[in-house]
Every structure is written in C-alpha cells, then in structure tokens.
Amino acid sequence: MSHKDDIALMAHLMRRAGFGARREELEERVKYGYEATVEELLTPEQQPAVDIYDLYRYQPWTWKPGTVYGMGHAPWVYHLLNTKAPLQEKMTVFWHGIFATGVSKVDHWDEIMDMIDTFRDNGMGKFHEIVMSVAKSPAMLYWLDNNENFNGRINENWGRELLELFTIGVTNYTETDVYECSRAFTGWTLAAKLPRFPMGRFDWEFEYLDEIHDHSEKNFLGHVGDLNGDNIVNIVLQQPATARFIARHLYNFFVADEAQVPAWSVTPPRDRDAIDQIVEKLYTSDYDIRETLRLVLNSDFFKKARFAKVKSPVEVMIGTLRFVGGSELPAPGIGNLSRQVAYMGQELLNPPSVEGWHTGPEWINSGSIMSRTNYFTDMISDTERPGVKALIDALQEKGTLSADDFVDTCLDLLGPLDVEAAPRQELVDLANEGGPLTWGTNGGYDSTVARITEMLQLIVSLRDYQFA
C-alpha cells in the first residue's frame, strides 16, 4: 500500500473510531501502524484521562448543572473535545444513542451525565454489565417510569423498551412477555428523593424494594419461576436476537449506514456476512464489546466502507472543532458551543424519543444541511484557529501552487477526501479565477489567505464532505 493509501485508511479509522485527526497525527499513527493504533484505541486506560476539574475550576456551573437549559452536556462536550482516547468517548455516544435518555422528562442533567460517565467507564466492557448499569440508572428508571412499577400496579414502560429497543427487538417476544418482564422489574426503583429546596438538587439513588416486588410466578420467553430483573437480563442475553440486534447497531454506527431500528424486523442487513461475524464474536466472547470492536475495526468490511456513513451532528461538531482547534480550553462559551449540536438535530441528553435518533440520510433535511454547512464554513474560515493556521502554513511551505495542485493539496489536508471528478473540476475552476497560488508578490499574504479560506469554505460545503 502506498503512503497515501496508508494515510487515507488511517484517516478512515480515526473518523470512525474517533472524531478524525489532523495530518500530523495521521502521519505519526501510520508510522505506529494500523493494528497497533486499533489496540491503542481499545485500551483507553493507557491514555491520560481528561482533567474534568480543569473545566469545573473555570466553569463551576458545569459541575452538576442541574437544569441549566440546553447546556447540561457541556462536561461531556469537554471530554469529547479533549480526550486522548477517542474510541472510549465515541462509545459514550454509541450507548447514549441506544439507551437514549432525555432531560425533557428526567429534568435533571446530573443523572443522565452519571449514565454517560458509566458508559465511559464500562462502554467497552461486557454488554451484560452495561445493561445492568442502565437498569439501575436513576435516570433510566425515571425516564421509563420503573419507579412507578409496583406489584399489582404494573407499569410496562421500561419492560417494553428493554425488549423492543435495547435488546431483542420487535417480533421476537409477545405482549405477555412484556407484561411478565415488567412484573419481574417491580421493586427496581429510586430511593426517596431529598426535597430540592432550599439546597438545590440532590443526587438520586437506585434502590431495590423487595416489599413492592411481585414475587408470584412469571413466564417469560419460556422461563418460568419467581423471576427478578437480573434473571430477565440473563434470559434476554441468551436470545440470538439480542446479539443480532447489537451487531446491527455496531455495524450502523461504525461501518455503514443501515436501515433504522424499527425496520430491522423486515429489512435484512446490507452486509449479512459482516453481521454474522459480529454476532458470532458477541456470542463467543460473552458479549465482550472490546473484543467485538477489535474484530470490526480490523475487518475488511470495515476498511472498505470509506465514506459510507453520513456524519452525525456530534461527528460534525466535534470532528470540526478537533480539526480546527482552539476550543479545548475551558473558556467561556462552552455552554453555547454545546448547543450547536442541537441546531443540527442531535441535542445530546435530549433525544427526540426513547428510540434515540434516526441516523444516516435521516440526519439530512433542508434545515439541517444549512446548519451543517454554515457551521463548517464558519469554522474553516477562522484563520485564528490553530488547525486552520497549520493548514495555511502547510500550503505556504509548498510555495507557488498551480490551480490543480492548490485544490488537491487542500483536499488532501482536509481528509484526505475522496471527491468526484466533476466537483473537483468546479474547485479547480474557482482556483483558476485567481491563477496559481502565490505568496507575497501579487496582492500579498492576506489576499492569498482569503483565496485559501474561500477554497476551504467551498470544499466543506461539498456533498462529499457530509460523509464520514
């Protein structure tokens, strides 16, 4: 493989298993090797953790933000921007997309942030532990009303979604199973909450109350007995449908855009063989997510799937900010920055419903394509930002460039991006309007930089740039 191919493959890995990387990092990683990079991504504990106290020191409101409107995920955004272990952080986004929990109802950022912290700690561990932590998460218990699920007064909300949206998927269970599952989770509740006033909000705690648990016999997916919630989770994980369900999620998130969850019972996967491999690995590894990710990231089906996904708003925002740089410090404005992702249709910690977000082309509509393009063009033209400066410097180092070389160098440094012949020609036409790119002679440095930013703005406006 040529060096250029190596760089392109590494850029692909870093876009998918992280939030992209600048050229100098890609060069380093190519020297280090592909599989070694995968291993590094899979072992986040070897990287220095993000110092969240830096943020809290400068922006104290971000510690337990309570109900601050639209900005409670600021500490998460801080992690996303600064992490040295991007796959670990990407997994928090992955699990939040499945176990979608929102402040629209929970009305308490801290509790959902605790859930995100758990995903950071366990997100590459065993799926069993992840499900159990979710089943005991105060945010989830409240979001899906399991604190209102008592013996004799069954509330089906959590029981149903556990089966429909978190594990087995529709058509693989009956309405009776939903009811029996819900009965088994009676007693999984929140400890009595301290009154909010005058001290503000207190943390919520999980509590199991045996006296409100329904101890009578249940019949769930053929298993009969006085089943409790942990029995249900064990039974659920034995279902081949669960492994398939998680496999399709992993494929859709890491490899290529798939049909959306409600369609999975009727739409076959786009790559059945890849799904079979992931299912097999989940099954034989006892649902070990790290081992499964190792398989995915080193597979041919992954390596071949370049630009086969429409970027999610989180990928748009974090990927752009990590590329242009300059937003790492806990400076004022992280709250408003955090809101940006909502304008593109993915308000973190506030999914549109318990189903989470629809992905792929469904990220795009006439409104979101505007906010994405406006964001890209705004950021890439900010020549104060270190990533943009570095890009301009790299162009300057090359000296005078022909229109073709000017365009190709920009495409290379921004990706490398795959751009089709026709749009590339359009870029070359723009470059030709100003002739070869020169420094200091006709018009000086500033006008050259203006030409470059205009070119960069047009490149990030391309359709091709919407893909990861």
Binding site: N147, N157, E355, P361, G367, S381, L458
Partner: protein, 376 residues
C-alpha cells in the same frame, strides 16, 4: 370583480407520545370510567361537557368555544386493527398508511407530489422542527424543514455579500443534478438546492408579518406562529406539519397532561385568531392526532400504551360535531385493556385528501375507507 378561489391548506398538529383519549374527551357519565381511573380520572365537575355523555378536558376551553361555533369536529375511536402499542411502529403506520409492511413513503409526501408534480415550489410543504416527519417523506419531493424561521439561510456567516453570492453560485452547481452518483448523493444534492431556494422564499415571511395576536412563549406557540407567518406571506405552502410532545404519560399524568393540552389549545386558538385577523382562515383546516390512545385503566400514576384515539379537525370549513362513536369501555369489549378503534384513520385522511385537497385518496392511503363527513 371576481376573486380567485384560494388553494386549500392543511395544517397537521401531531401530539407525539400517545395522547390519552379518555382524558381528552372524557366519558364522564359512565361510572366505569371512574372505576378504571381512581388516580388520573377527571372529576365530573371539572369536565367541560359537550353533551350528556362526554366532555372535554378542563384545559380545552378554547376547543369548546370552537365546538360551539361549529368549527370543531371530534372524531371518535380512530385507529387501526391490532395496535402494536409501540410509539415508533404506530407513528410509522400513521405516517405511511402501511399497517402490515414497513412503509417509507409518507401520505403527505404523496399528496405534495400530486399537488406539485413538477416541483415548482420548494415550500409546498413546510415541516417545523429540526428533523423531518416521515409523513412528508417521499423521494424527490421537496420539504422545507424549518427549525428557526428567523435565522433560516445558507452561509449567512459570510459577511461580504459578493463573496457569499459567488460561493452560493458555485454551491448551486455543485449540488446540481449533473454532479453526484447514487441515491444518497442525489438526495443530498436536491436537499441542498431546495434549502437554498426555500430560504430565499421564506426569509420574507417574518419580515412582512404584523399581528395583534400574542402567542405564548412555548414550543407549540412559536411553531404555530411561524406557520401563520409563512401562510400569511402567501408563498403557496399547502401542507404544514408541527408536533408537540411528549404525551407519553406513564406517570404523573395529571400535571403533565394539563400543561400539554393547555399549551396546545392556547396555541391553536391563537393561530386561528391570527389567521382570522388577516382574513386568511377560510382556506385552512387543521388535523390534530396522536399515534395511539392510552390504556383504559390507570397504573396508579399514569396510563400505559393503548389503541383507539380521538382526532380533532378544526377550521371554518369544518362542520362541527361528533363523528363515529365513542368506543365501548365495558370490560368485555376491551382488547388487551384498551377500547377498540371503530374508525380507520385512513378514512379521516381520505376525507381530507378528497373533499378538501381534491385528490384521489385511494392510491395515497392504499385503499377505500369509510369517510367521516366533517367538512361543510
């Protein structure tokens, strides 16, 4: 002097999350209702009666006024057979009219395709919110998705007007049909071009708008104000889609349902007042629906997912009254604890499509269904 007849306009208000039918149109004279609902039942004294059997939720005062003026049709027992009781599946069914297979084409997407077959107007359909509703989804059919009408535009951050126009000129070519391969690229291209054209048209709407109506500062109020602004700008928009939610009241139903219905009915009242002030209400009807009703008996705090629901149709052209029948809530008539729908939602759509918009409903809703005659 003759005036051109105005084109009929439909506004859809979707109550997302499953609105509780039994607490919206309350069968207050039926003792069973109170037996089923010791916690969330609405006391007879609080219900706004519309006849000796049923009444409206106490927060639906404005609906009662419209009902008395013959501008509100209450359609009972709407739904479809074998409710899956899943929000997502049920919403898909309402959006695509495909209860058996998985549909991707929305009923209103098909309507818009018929209304504007040559795609001459990219704002024939306007969807309010950051994501588009599947009801409007149809390959090749443009829909303007507007989250914030005041800041809607492309590359608005580029200050220098000439530079912005130069880039947008290239953008137009880059998103044109000559460039791009594959369905997703085509989709992106068309969406980008439509966004550009739509923004140019829609930017006038808030600028031209003047009104004495003050909408409430909440999400549904803001959305309906934007709808009014666009409608009053006379841009040829025929279908508007807004949603409000979440109505998923498994717990603490009382306060939350009050707030939602209160915001909704206030917004709807302000909207029609606004249109009437501008003499622009006579060609607008509104459909208010939810993906399902909720369980007959409460769970001690709220209600779980159910089946049959109520649909409201509002507007000057609507013939007020009650349509279809309130489904029986006798224990032996319930299905999995829920009242059984007795009117297919596709019949409601058919009335709208045929008798309001003037198209053939059969290919759009996938069959022939009993049509409630709620139009004058």
């Amino acid at each position: 002097m003759t005036t051109m007849p105005k084109d009929p306009v439909l506004v859809v208000l979707q109550m997302t999350g499953g609105n509780d039918y039994l607490n919206t149109v309350v069968p207050y004279s039926d003792g069973m209702y109170y037996d089923y609902r010791p916690t969330v039942g609405i006391a007879e004294k609080d219900v706004i009666p519309i006849d000796d059997k049923v009444g409206l939720h106490p927060k639906l005062g404005s609906f009662k006024e419209m009902y008395d003026k013959n501008d509100l049709a209450i359609i009972h027992g709407v739904g479809y057979a074998n409710s899956p009781r899943s929000h997502f599946r049920s919403m898909d069914i309402w959006h695509t009219c495909e209860p058996d297979t998985l549909g991707t084409e929305g009923w209103l997407g098909k309507v818009v395709r018929e209304l504007d077959p040559n795609k001459e107007n990219v704002v024939t359909a306007v969807s309010m919110g950051p994501s588009m509703f599947r009801a409007l989804s149809m390959p090749g059919v443009p829909v303007a998705c507007v989250d914030n009408l005041d800041s809607y535009g492309l590359m608005t951050n580029i200050q220098e007007r000439q530079q912005r126009e130069r880039l947008l000129e290239r953008y137009k070519r880059l998103y044109g049909p000559a460039i791009g391969t594959g369905p997703v690229m085509d989709f992106l291209g068309q969406t980008g071009l439509n966004a550009l054209a739509g923004a140019d048209m829609l930017k006038v709407a808030p600028q031209q708008y003047k009104s004495n109506v003050e909408y409430a500062e909440n999400s549904i109020g803001r959305k309906l104000r934007s709808v009014a602004q666009i409608h009053l700008a006379d841009l040829g928009t025929r279908v508007f889609y807004v949603d409000q939610g979440s109505y998923d009241s498994h717990s603490n139903q009382a306060g939350m349902h009050d707030k939602l219905l209160g915001d909704m009915s206030r917004g709807v009242q302000d909207f029609f007042d606004d249109l009437r002030e501008h003499d622009a209400a006579d060609n607008v009807i509104m459909l208010v629906f939810s993906e399902f009703g909720r369980r007959t008996y409460d769970n001690g705090s709220g209600t779980d997912h159910g089946a049959a629901g109520a649909v409201f149709m509002l507007g000057d052209a609507v013939k007020g009254g009650q349509y279809s029948e309130y489904p029986s809530i006798k224990r032996e008539d319930l299905e999995q604890g829920d009242p059984v729908p007795n009117l297919d939602f596709r019949g409601v759509y058919s009335t709208i499509i045929e008798d309001w918009i003037g198209l053939d409903a059969t290919p759009i809703v996938g069959g022939t269904f009993e049509k409630p005659r709620f139009l004058n």
